[in-house]
Amino acid sequence: MSWNDSLGDATRYEIAQHGRNRVALALVVAFIPIWLTLVHMIIPSGPIAFHHDVTGRVVELDANQLSMISGAMNAVTLIIGFMMFSAVRRSSDFDRRLVLAGYARSALLVAKLLALGLAAAVVSLYATSVLMLFWMPELLVPFYLSLVLSGLTYGGIGILLGVVFRTELAGMFLIIMISLVDVMVQNPIITPSTGVDGFSLLPTYGAMQNSVGAAFTGDLSLGYFLLGMLWLAGAALIGLVAFHRRTRDHIGRQDPSVPRQQPERTATVVVSVTADGSLRIRSSSGPVLVCSCATDESREARPAVPAEARPDVRTTVLTTDRT
């Protein structure tokens, strides 16, 4: 049974888990079209200035279409963030049990990332398809990839929140707030002063800039795409390190299915004679067994004799202090 088999199983079950997340599925199926239709109906068409940092120019865009991009990105980030948060939080204890039982931790981690990639790809495809019912972005594939990127970014944030927060409410609230603030403030309808310093620090900044370029101007930037990947890498890395720490096996089994043998141990001890003539033994490494023979009148310590071989010997563990 190889690592690949473990990865295959873990990925299948991760996808099954996402597939059974009914709240997320309902959000995907219903929220995306409803939200985009509402935005389309409510936000009036008309020119609006947008700071397109990819080209360094202020471009005039249609406010309705720009808001639909924000809406699509908002929906994708919320849904993917929620899916990953929910999956990581719910399976946290289970994953730890699996790892303690011997499951390859790296296979579980990679499976989560693969499932994230698939979820982001599918949800973004659906969101792009719905948006296409209203209007057609100029460069379809880059536009789609920008949405995928925003989903991946929030998947990373979801993993991080899922590891850190134990309650569903706290994590969900944070994902909603982060996504709202992030996506909405980049929309010039809400923040006319887009283009000011600091916007580039927002999680979907790169994805938004590229999606606007793909939808309207045809100007794209690999650097802005990588910005989003950086967010994914940063958030996922912190989350995965936390996951790694949480699933640590404190007894250090390499392979729990193989009997653990008692390691050869060397004790480092200091023997000193106290004022009353008794011996004081202190170990700075490893436990010490001091065997005193009940039938031996000399009370001589015989540490070299295994206790098991001498039924008349009383065995005492003196100390395991480590200095």
Binding site: M1, D9, R97, A101, G102, S257, T319
Partner: protein, 218 residues
Amino acid sequence: MNPLRVVDLHKAFRGRPVLTGVEFELRTGELFGIIGENGAGKSTLLRILAGELAADRGDIIYGGTLGYCPQKIVLNDELTVEQHLRFFQRAYRRPGLLRAHELVERLGFDQHRGTRAGLLSGGTRQKLNLVIALMHDPDVVLMDEPYQGFDWDNYLNFWSIAEELRDQGRTVLIISHIAHDIDRFDRLRRLRNGQLAEPAITESTLNGTVPATVVTAG
């Protein structure tokens, strides 16, 4: 070699000592019980033995494979019973699921193999929790109140499995607070003040409300 030996184990939470020098060893083919009041540190001890928690100090020497049934049921609600078994088959690197299916049948939830864990009753979830701990036929089984939610028949069923394991040379450590269990153990220790004490206790010191009788064990 003993299947498990614990030497001078210490653990404190935020400066509050819970274990203050726990020492014991398990023998091959025995049912070993640990009892103690709520908050005595029984589950902490077992979590350390299972590798879930790190001890502050002390040594644990293992002489065989481990099975661990945690007090809190740890399952994935989205996966079916069979998917749980397959997942852990991979974790334990077992060639098949013969033993797992035998245990499932024995505990009477064979008909739920295709059911998602989230839809199972509390008792059946606990059965699955237990099967996961036993399905790889470990040398040492650590169980923390493993029969919570069981009805009387399943409670007896559990003990017949535990005794069978013992008779097959496995070592079974059970944390219990049920007075009925006490005479089932080959040896019994009580966790008090962070240490394992000799077993001469009365049932009135347990959580149960059974009239006090002196217990002898060991």
